[in-house]
């Protein structure tokens, strides 16, 4: 799965499960600015585990790595050992 596809999947998960229907998100949106808090970020981390089979190690759960969908997708790619 390419980084673009991962980003699309993450955007869909966040929009359907975490955000209010009126709030838009794309891969560059700063997640903190649309109300995504640490609990929501952990929900995303566990979604990544279920959906992509990638467990992000504790030292990867930094604010920088989880700042946007693009940053998260890059982090997943790093820990999967594949990049598009």
């Amino acid at each position: 799965m390419s980084t673009t596809e991962i980003e699309r999947e993450l955007c869909r998960f966040v929009a359907e499960n975490i955000l209010d229907a009126d709030v838009a998100v794309d891969e560059t949106t700063v997640l903190a600015q649309i109300g995504i808090d640490s609990f929501s970020l952990m929900e995303i981390v566990l979604f990544i585990e279920r959906q992509f089979g990638v467990t992000l190690p504790d030292n990867a759960l930094t604010p920088e790595n989880l700042a946007s969908i693009h940053a998260i997708a890059s982090c997943i790619a790093t820990h999967r050992g594949t990049r598009s």
Binding site: L19, D20, V23, G35, S38, M42
Partner: protein
């Protein structure tokens, strides 16, 4: 601002739980557990102007005349606004912020009030006080933003949308069973907490607020980073609080033991301005074994492992289902069921982290906001609550405690350990 408001609104599971908790606390402490938020601004505030703004929000009228109403046993309890004018919601003019109460002079609970303190240095504090059972901390923050005119009133949703169809009864019963098993596992064997107060002597609540900013806040962030907390900053704060509490218990001569702490989680969809009214939280219950309390990193990793296990098992969904199901129980029966496993002691202490959601309130009634501080309700037992909030470059730690239970030197022991674990040098 005008809007149509419901004449009745079903209590959420969290409303019902907090009504039960409030009833127990009132019985023990003889007082209401009020919530408060202080907005500090850099210039004087006009009380008449704010009162007018307050009254222009018609939800205030609704909140001031609301009571719990149940039509018949087993029916869903509702908030019902009577429209019976009991007087103003505005409890302004008190000389001390500690004098504000959610009980009016007629002894009838008031759901909402505010107060202004204009200081000699030209700064001011706007204080909102509300009854814990009908608005949670994030709802109150949104209400403050509505008063401040910080958000366009149009997208502000005061009331929750009508709930969808509940899951099948079998699923709800399975969820209830999962929660019951979890609670049993968490609460037994007995955990360590504060001694009970005598019911003959009503317990008082005092507050101590620690404010961390500048270089101290940088040190605190560095400590969290060094421990690998990452985005799990709430757990870092909870870990420090847990170890501070353990240290305080030992200074009080109470033997060390496992600690149990519930942590509220906001169930609102993120990015929405609402709903303001009613509680929208569920709880995660952490049991921290006494053996890990000796080490800060072990405490943090234990909390993190428990949080992830609860998230993987979708515990928050089961808890929400369970608490919604329990709404059909009359409060005395619900309270009896809640009290039974632990003889009324739900937790070693209560904890919350309201996060950074007040950072976007930059101005209040034309004045620049310098900080916002939450003061939690203090439920008995155990009568010790800590809430963290972070905004405008200040991390605030509000500690609600009872001097009838905790002596000053023991509270200092808690603060000393907390500051040490947060990575801050020096004494408060």
């Amino acid at each position: 601002m005008t809007a149509s408001f419901p004449s009745t609104l079903p209590l959420t599971g969290a409303d019902h739980f907090l009504c039960a908790l409030g009833r127990l606390s009132r019985h023990i402490s003889g007082g209401e557990a009020a919530c408060r938020i202080d907005i500090h601004v850099d210039g004087p505030l006009d009380e008449k102007h704010i009162a007018a703004r307050f009254r222009s929000l018609t939800v205030v009228e609704w909140l001031c005349h609301v009571n719990v109403h149940t039509t018949f046993p087993g029916a869903l309890p509702c908030w019902r606004s009577s429209g019976n004018n009991r007087g103003t919601a505005v409890s302004s003019g008190a000389t001390s912020i500690h004098n504000i109460t959610t009980l009016g002079p007629d002894g009838v609970p008031r759901m909402l009030g505010f107060k202004i303190v204009n200081r000699p240095d030209q700064s001011a504090i706007f204080t909102l006080i509300w009854h814990h059972s009908i608005i949670d901390a994030h709802g109150a923050e949104m209400f403050v933003k509505a008063v401040a005119g910080a958000v366009d009133p149009e997208p502000m949703r005061f009331f929750p949308a009508a709930p969808g169809a509940p899951p099948p009864l079998v699923d709800r019963l399975n969820a209830a069973k999962a929660v019951k098993n979890h609670m049993k596992q968490v609460s037994s064997p007995a955990f360590a907490t504060l001694p009970a107060v005598s019911r003959r002597t009503p317990a008082t609540t005092r507050y101590k607020v620690l404010e961390i900013s500048g270089a101290d806040l940088e040190r605190c962030d560095a400590r969290a980073k060094a421990l690998g907390a990452g985005v799990r900053r709430s757990l870092f704060y909870l870990g420090a609080t847990v170890r501070g509490f353990d240290s305080m218990l030992r200074s009080m001569g109470i033997s060390s033991g496992d600690l149990v702490v519930p942590m509220p989680l906001d169930r609102r969809k993120r990015g929405a301005f609402g709903p303001v009214v009613s509680n929208h939280v569920c709880f995660y219950f952490y049991r921290i074994p006494k053996d890990v309390l000796a080490d800060q990193a072990s405490t943090l990793s234990t909390l993190s492992a428990q949080m992830q296990a609860m998230m993987r098992s979708r515990f928050h969904e089961s808890y929400a289902c369970f608490s919604d199901l329990c709404r059909r129980l009359p409060i005395p029966l619900y309270l009896w069921l809640l009290k039974r496993p632990t003889r009324g002691r739900f937790a070693s202490f209560f904890f919350s982290d309201t996060g950074e959601s007040m950072n976007d309130l930059t101005h209040f009634m034309g004045r620049r906001v310098t900080k916002a501080i939450h003061y939690p309700p203090n439920f008995f037992p155990p009568g010790f609550t800590v809430v963290f909030s972070r905004n405008h470059g200040v991390l605030s730690v509000s500690i609600a405690y009872s001097p009838d239970i905790i002596a000053d030197e023991c509270l200092q022991q808690f603060i000393h350990r907390l500051r040490s674990d947060l990575g801050i040098c020096g004494e408060d």
